[in-house]
Each structure stands twice: as C-alpha cells, then as structure tokens.
C-alpha cells in the first residue's frame, strides 16, 4: 500500500494514496469535477479543460485530471473563477456543435447535454454560422458525425490502448480537426463498437441502433453474451420484446464495459426472419407444421420405444444451452431413458487439467486473475480473435501493471505487441519450446497459463509438471469455444463422466458413444440433437430417427424427422459458466412467439413419458445443481443478484480416458460463430468477415 496523502477539497479534508489524481480524490470525497477527456483506465489526455480547479498558491487554474495529489494541497472546485471557466469551456465546445439533440442518437444519455445543463451558461453568444461537415459511415456499425465531436480522444485511446487495434487518429488542425479511420474513408478493425460506447457525445454512433428509439424508451436487461466462452455481461435494450442494442455501460460484469462485435451487435440473429416458430414433422413430401402437443407425443412415443430396446438413444447437446438445461438433459437421458450416449463438441481438454491439478486450491485462474497476475503465458491460441475479453484483460494488465506476457503460437498474434517474448512453433510443439522461457518465468512471482486445443491429454499433464518445476504460483485457463462450453463439461454432457466430474461407476454406467460415433452407429434407434449442428460437415451413416431442437433450419434440422423450435439464450433464464469458471445468470430479454426453451421442451417430453425427474424450473434446478454438483456449491443469492461467482473446487474428479482426438476448437474468429453467426446480419456484413486467425 502506498503512502497516504492528506489534502483539502472544498473544505473537506481527505486522505488518499499518493499518486491519486485530484479528480479521483474529489470523487472519493463525493465532489464531482466535470470531465470529458479523462477516462478511468486510459492514458491521460488533458484535452478538454473541463476539469479546471483552483489550487491554493498556484496562480493559474489546474486540470484536475492530470494533477496528482500532494501533501497539504488545498483545492477549490466551486469558486466563481472555476464556475466561469467551466461556462467558458462549454461555450467553446458548443461553438460549432450543431445541437441537434432531437435527432441525435446520444440524446438523453449525452455527457455534453448533462454538462451543459449543469454547468453551462444557458445561452450562447455566438451568432456566426457553424462550421459543418456531413456525417460519414465508416463501417456497417460505425458512423461519425464530425461537428458533434468534442475531440476528447477517448475513442482513439480505447482503440489503441484497450483493443490494440489503433484504427483511429486525428487529422487536420483547429476547427477542422476531426477523427479519421485507418483506411481513409472506412474502418478496417475489430468492429467492436467500443469507440461508439465510450464517446461522450453523439459523434460516433452505432449503425444498428441508429435512429431506432431513445434510451428511456427501452427496458434494460442484464444478461450474458451467448457467443464466445468469455462470459461478458451484456445489457440488452429491449422494446416491444425486440432487442435493439447491447452494451454494458454500467460496468456491471467481469468485462467491465468491454464487448466485442458479437456481444454488442450480433444479437440480431434472435429476430432473424427464418426463426422457427412451429414444430415441424417430416412427411413423404417434406415438412409439415404441427402443434406442440402432436410433436411432443410423437417424440415421446419414439423415445419410449428406444428406452424399451435398452436405451438405444443418443443425445448430442449444445455449448450454448444453460447449465440447468444440460443438467436436466443428462438426467433425462441417463435416469429416464437408460442411455449414456450423450456428448457435445468438446473444444478444450479441461478434465486432464483437473486430473493433473487434483487436490490443489486455486489451480484455475479467474477472469480477474488475468488482470492481476504478473506473468501471462499464452499457448497455442489467438486470443484477440477467439477470446476478445481475455485479450482485453491481459492488455489492461500490461498497461496498468506491466505484466510480462509470453506468447507461444503457430503464427503472429496481436498479443505479440505487448509480449516480452513471442515464439512461433507448430501446433502441438508448444511444450518443447517452453524450455527457452524457463529462466524468465522463474523470476516471476506468479503466472497464468492459457492453453488452446493443441494441448490435450498427456500434454496437459506434462504442461502442469513443467510449470510445477518452475516453483512459482501457477494458475491455468483451459480455453474453450462457446458461451457454455465449460458448463457442458461441468454438467456431464459427455459420455465419460457425471455432473461435477464424478465417475460413471456411481450410476453403474459404461462410457457411451461420443458424438461422432453416434453419427456412425448402427445401434441407435433415435438420435436427439439439442442446439448442435453435427451434420454441417458430416453425414449420418445409417439414419436413426432424428429429433432436432433448433432456432433455424440448419443442415442437421433439415434432415430431422421432427424439428422443435427452440429459444435462444437471450430468451431464457438459467446460468452459464464462463471459460474461467464464473457462474453467471441469464435473464430473458427478447420474446419470439412460438419458440420454447430447451428446458421446457425436454420437460414436456419427460412429462409425456411419465418420468419423475424432479422440478424443471431453472431456479429449482440451479438449487439442485448447487446441492449435488461438485464445484457449484457457490453463493446462489450472489448469482441471482447478477454477480459472476467463481465455481470450484472439484474434489472428486474421475480418472477418465480422455478422447484426445475428439477435442477440437472450431477456431472461430471475431466474425464467425457457428450457425448463429451465419444468421447475424451484422457479422456477415462487415468487410473484415470472415477473417482468419493468427494474422497479428
């Protein structure tokens, strides 16, 4: 802890750590100092002069956002001189400002409006014509209206420092100064929209939210992004059951206010016109629409037959269904239908890590650890493309704490910019290359290791062994693909272990078929696919009777005998577990009439089968998971309150033979996300799509 310094602000005496900026010290004392260009976590700019304060024994007004506190400093923020200065600054900012608030998308949540209202003069004295330039569209999602720009450089800094993209800069001088994109007339970047969000005024606006509504007209639903595994909290603005925008301005999740393009813009798949809204039953001439009752009855009949034949049914689950749904599905299959053929597409080898670190406290890193650890080792993954939030955290750690970052990948990645050392090796050769980093890593107090799908099976054990030999504190992140990939593993949506990584022996089960084997199997009568698309690149060998729960008529659904329209993650309650193991609650935001959640569908089938499986309500199921699944004995009220609660530890990890060749990442880029990504107009319309990994 650094030394405390005593100073006086507006007559209030306060103590803050040395090095604190006056603007933050005032905030602690409950005094607001207006600011535009100052932004927590970004470098200092001192551009807007809005934060001027009077400091005793200093002849001129000082900018509070660049001034560190000093012992005995006396600051005044409410003298006539300061008030006059604020008025003058606002008057200058407004000289060429169009003040077209009625048509400006920022209206109602604009910092300039707030400031002008609170500190402004109320009346302008300039009568000259305002300098005007037309609005520009830089990409499908980013618009720039130069006259509204107050040149606070927030966008420039977030893109450079936060994202590492550095796509924005300032051109021209004086009143003609404006922000310019990296490709002259358009942007080629991550299209994350962080610059739009961070812009205090309506200069940068979103192509999707554009002219849709007003902030106060929406209800704001905090839920979890359904795309990658990082688990960003996203606050969806909803009007009439339709999602209009997403952001996280209240900084309420593990991601602070970060969202990538998928979390911020790609929710539009929810309202895609091709969403399924009626159950479909195959006839000789194609599909016909059916009622839910009829479809469920038909499905239950087939399931019952398969059960009587000794459990000849297989289930391929999803990595975007909730923990509750996965838990209920495996229960239905194992207890209700007597089958252990249950799997999903696994994208990383977590269970080997759990076996190798068994009995250790804190072997798994949380998202926060990525920000605090003094060393980061990235093995075989392009984080900026596949795990944008983790990459953002690591960059923030580097900026604020000078973390030492080591990169071992097959091609150039963006993390090379901040890396102490970068090594290029063929996939699977990462461990061999590590030896050359030994001395450097040994000098660190602690290390977080992130590894991708090229390290699996015995390689994970070897990695842990090697890290043990460093004799420093090491925590691990096993990188996984999708929003609830981690939850699917934890909930035992696999043929090799039960929920909480318990041994199959506890239920007297034999290891079942994995998903690829199910597609080839001669013995399955019924194949049940929930939210997965296994037939995208594969074929069924012998056609079992196929039931598919899906949002769209995917390649798999097209071959089904019954298709049941499912709800997306933005339409349901439940929990996801992020790649770093944080348990977070989903809240239903949108409504798509006709679709049912996978939990509802599964429970209707169970009901029709007459099975007693306990409650099928998300909250009650979470209670059951909390009681029975290792690692999920966490503080549920905290989860319900919207916090991200770390799961673990897993005391009873079963010793299983890992099916190494089945573990494969889909290698999504920033602009791809399986069948959902294909249905997002935004993801498919940006110029950078589809993008590729490892391009630095």
């Amino acid at each position: 802890m650094s030394k405390l310094v005593t100073l006086t602000i507006d007559g209030k005496q306060i103590q803050v750590p040395a090095g604190t900026l006056v603007i933050n010290a005032a905030k602690q004392a409950g005094i607001e100092i207006p600011s535009f260009c100052y932004y927590d976590g970004l470098s200092l700019q001192g551009a807007c002069r809005m934060c001027l304060v009077e400091v005793e024994r200093v002849p001129k007004l000082m900018t509070a956002c660049t001034l560190p506190v000093a012992e005995g400093m006396v600051v005044r923020t409410n003298t006539p001189q300061v008030i006059e200065a604020r008025k003058a600054m606002l008057e200058f900012l407004l000289t060429n400002h169009p003040l077209d608030c009625p048509v400006c998308d920022k209206g109602g949540e604009c910092e300039l409006q707030d400031m002008a209202f609170r500190y402004g003069a109320g009346e302008g004295r300039f009568v000259e014509f305002k300098y005007h330039v037309p609005e520009k569209q830089w990409s499908p999602v980013v618009y720039y209206d130069a006259p509204r720009c107050i040149l606070c450089y927030r966008c420039v800094r977030i893109c450079d420092e936060g994202l590492g993209v550095n796509a924005l800069g300032v051109v021209n001088r004086g009143v003609r100064s404006e922000i310019a994109p990296n490709r002259g007339d358009h942007l080629e970047c991550d299209e994350c929209g962080m610059c739009i969000d961070i812009c205090p005024v309506g200069a940068l606006t979103s192509g999707t939210y554009r002219y849709q509504t007003r902030p106060w007209e929406m209800s704001h639903v905090g839920t979890i992004c359904t795309f990658c595994a990082d688990g960003c909290k996203t606050t969806l603005g909803v009007r009439n059951g339709i999602i209009i925008r997403a952001n996280n301005r209240d900084r309420s999740g593990i991601n602070d206010e970060f969202l990538c393009i998928k979390g911020r813009f790609a929710f539009d798949f929810v309202h895609h016109p091709e969403r399924l809204t009626r159950p479909l039953i195959r006839t000789l001439s194609g599909f016909r629409e059916a009622s839910w009752a009829e479809a469920i009855e038909l499905v239950a009949e087939r399931f019952e037959q398969a059960r009587q034949q000794g459990g000849r049914i297989g289930l391929i689950g999803s990595t975007r269904t909730t923990n509750e749904e996965n838990y209920f599905l495996q229960k239905l299959l194992r207890q209700g239908l007597g089958s252990n053929h249950i799997d999903h597409r696994q994208s990383g080898d977590l269970v080997s890590l759990l076996m190798a670190t068994r009995g250790r406290e804190g072997a798994l890193a949380t998202t926060a650890d990525l920000y605090h650890a003094s060393g980061i080792l990235i093995l075989g993954a392009d984080l900026s493309q596949q795990h944008p939030l983790l990459a953002f955290q690591i960059r923030a750690n580097y900026r604020h704490h000078r973390a030492r970052v080591y990169v071992v990948t097959r091609g150039p990645v963006r993390e090379d910019q901040i890396a102490a050392r970068s090594l290029r090796v063929a996939p699977g050769q990462e461990l061999e290359a590590l030896e050359s980093l030994r001395t450097e890593l040994q000098g660190l107090p602690d290390l977080v290791v992130l590894y991708g799908d090229s390290i699996k099976g015995s390689a994970v054990a070897r990695l842990v062994q090697w890290c043990d030999s460093l004799a420093i504190a090491v925590r691990y992140v096993c990188l996984l693909d999708d929003a609830n990939s981690r939850g699917a593993l934890d909930m035992g949506l696999v043929p090799d272990w039960l929920p909480g990584y318990r041994s199959l022996d506890q239920m007297n089960l034999q290891p079942g078929l994995c998903w690829e084997e199910m597609l080839e199997s001669e013995e399955l009568e019924v194949l049940w696919v929930v939210g997965a698309n296994p037939l995208r690149r594969r074929h069924l060998k012998r056609r079992p009777w196929l039931v598919v729960q899906e949002l769209f008529l995917t390649e798999t659904a097209q071959q089904a005998d019954v298709v049941l329209p499912a709800a997306s993650a933005y339409e349901k309650r439940g929990t996801f577990t992020s790649v770093c193991g944080e348990l977070q609650q989903l809240q239903p935001a949108a409504q798509v009439p006709g679709a049912k959640t996978d939990l509802e569908i599964a429970s209707l089938i169970a009901l029709q089968l007459g099975l007693e499986l306990g409650p099928a309500d998300p909250d009650e199921l979470l209670g059951e998971i909390h009681r029975t699944v290792d690692g999920y004995n966490v503080d549920l009220p905290l989860v319900a309150a919207g916090a991200a609660v770390p799961t673990g530890p897993y005391p009873d990890v079963a010793a299983v033979a890992v099916r190494v060749d089945k573990i494969r990442s889909r290698e999504d880029t920033l602009f791809t996300a399986g069948s959902l990504g294909q249905r997002s107009q935004v993801l498919t319309s940006v110029r950078e799509a589809p993008g590729s990994l490892y391009r630095g």
């Binding site: 608030c101 009625p102 048509v103 209206g107 002219y211 849709q212 509504t213 007003r214 106060w216 007209e217």
Partner: protein
Amino acid sequence: MARKISILQAAAAITKGLGVTLREMLSPAVTEEYPDAPPSFEARYRGRHILRRDENGLEKCVACFLCAAACPVQCIYIEAAENTAEQRFSGSERYAKVYNIDYSRCIFCGYCVEACPTDAIVHGHGFELANYHTSALVMRKEDLLEPWPKQADVALPELERKVS
C-alpha cells in the same frame, strides 16, 4: 314626499335595467348554434392534435420522443426510422414511422406541444372525439397529419406564439 321619491327611484332602476337589456339586444349574440353550426374557439383551445408539415410538405416531426417523454399519461407511442434518399418523410434524418396518440388517455394538457422542439405537434380545435369503441380512440399518424396540399377546411389555430 317619501312616496314620490320612491316612485322616481323605482322608475330609474327599471330604466337602468331595461338599458342593459337594450344594450345587449344591440350587441352581437354569443349563442353557439352547435351542432347546427360549427362552434367558435379561442385560438389556444386544446383539441385533437395535428402533426404539422413544413413549407415543402415534409413532416416536421423528427421522432425525438420528447413529447412521449413529457406526456404525463404516456399516451404517445412512437417508432422512429431513418429517411432514405428514395423515401423522405421528414425534413431531418429521422422521422416517425409510427406515431399514435391514445385519446382514451389524453388529458389535453398540452405538455407534448410544449416539449416539441420542431413545433411539429400542436393542438387543433377538433373536439368531436366521442366513440363507442375505445380502440377507435387510438389515432395513428395518418389520422393526425396535416393534409397536404393544405386544405382550406382544416382550421389550424394561430401558431405565432413563441416557445421559450
């Protein structure tokens, strides 16, 4: 003596009273012949709203939602959209794709008119709103828009007041 005075006083009083009658007989009548004749209004009478157009016939409303925000009974519903080069509705970038006022809730307070930054919504003098069905009291943009080209029989109130 006393009697003589009182007679004179009575006569004066009657004359005075009849004088008022006579004067009122000669002044113009204020009786409204409604419904046989249209009633007359004060200029600032707050009746059914009119969504105004500018001199080019474009809608003045830019869908800023301020009227809806000001409305104490929340009876204004708006959906905004962007003008395109081919289809231009308002004089600004955005326009109201949907603009509904629910007259089963409107209290004719005039706050919406006060709030409007473009003077797009004003009170007209229409008052015959009674209906057997409340659903018919939800008026759409098409019902409220000032007709174009301007028609003589649609009486617009004086709008020369200055909104401070």
